[in-house]
Symmetry: C2
Amino acid sequence: MSAEAATGEAWEDITPDAARRLVVAAVQAFAERGYHATTTRDIAGRAGMSPAALYIHYKTKEELLYQISRVGHQRSLDMLREARDGGGSAADRLAAAVRAFVRWHAEHHTTGRVVQYELGALAPDHYGEIVALRRQSEDAIRAIVAEGVAAGEFDVPEVPGTTLAVLSLCIDVARWFNPAGRRTPDEVGALYADLVLRMVRAEGGPVADRDRPEAGDGGLQAVQDLPDPPETADRRRSDQQ
Amino acid sequence: MSAEAATGEAWEDITPDAARRLVVAAVQAFAERGYHATTTRDIAGRAGMSPAALYIHYKTKEELLYQISRVGHQRSLDMLREARDGGGSAADRLAAAVRAFVRWHAEHHTTGRVVQYELGALAPDHYGEIVALRRQSEDAIRAIVAEGVAAGEFDVPEVPGTTLAVLSLCIDVARWFNPAGRRTPDEVGALYADLVLRMVRAEGGPVADRDRPEAGDGGLQAVQDLPDPPETADRRRSDQQ
DNA sequence: ACCGACGCTAAGCGCTTGCTCACCCGGCAG
DNA sequence: CTGCCGGGTGAGCAAGCGCTTAGCGTCGGT
């Protein structure tokens, strides 16, 4: 699977073809430069079209962001609910939720960056809609945590606060993950599932042991995975990965 | 302490007065709308000056962001190093680091938001400088974690990855913290210190117990603390808190 | 052969942006 | 009183912005 495919594969059901190319181009541009720093000319250029062609498929630049945000949030919510309603102990389900959510945000870190960090640029009504989805995502995680606590499986200092921390930890993966770094999305997902089970003091559950990566690979240098450096030069299509 | 003071107090040593007012205004504007969506007219307006006055004190809009970013990162680094070099066990020092870092990012969440999420808008050379500071911050935390592991005090799946997760968790506080929410900066700091000690399996240390907030305040609804809604209307100075 | 629909482009409109420039004003040394 | 100087303003420039409009080529259906 190429890196380009990783950006594009989530949008395969968008038609016509030109509309899908525009979404993919917008995701890349928004992730690199941010919504406000991205021009409609840039998006259209990446999609191989003239600036005016954008407005045949989308009414405004903001509608593009809205589509991206809506689909991404819905996808996140579906993942979390699937984990919540899956089988196994609360620890199994919490680990599954974290693993899936984190893996997706690492794999699709460009999309994730737009989804998680650009929603402030949405129009007020669209923003409200997205916030509702986010609340439901939080509800899904909190349900798992609360069930684990009720079953005596977890021990947490405070359910809402712990839920918030878990969600926050997972979301932030989209910010720092670098595909050129040393960790694969699977590895980050497994590591984070382990760390989250520790946060809720799930006593060395089977999932934690099964998925834990090898401990103490001592020589690894811990230079932080860094987001792409800013680009003042207008390289545009030179390395569209 | 007023909310305005919370934004302003970190910049008291900037002179002359007009330059400081501009920084405070820029922090608020960048935090609310993002760097690219903020106009120099907006900044100058909030500071009670004409647009041209900005350029008497700062060469460009980017230089304002650079000042904010530099001071904020330096302050973060100082806090983390102070905790690292403080006394006590590794658990004590890790908890102190997290508590201070998180409390600052909650208290000064506007500044924190700019510092942590707008660095992509920096010019390449300024960006490089800031990245160096961030690496040193990561080094400070990793040192504490590594020492705890070496002393047999911590048990972590992987030192670099755990360090990254701890830092990421703390940074993201600036994104979601809402001063109108139910948690004070102190409470969030204590909660996070507890959660981080769990991540490294520091066995129920004194710090964790001393600072842990009351557990299981059941009735609390877990609606996520949300960032300010977007504003299309140009309210500007109406509720500058 | 004709035609309307569709996808697209070249050109550009109205506006906002970051930033500049000529000028102004109050305080203070000589 | 005079001259200077740091801090400030009003007006505005060049460039770039989101978006529109008039028109063009290429289709499938009749």
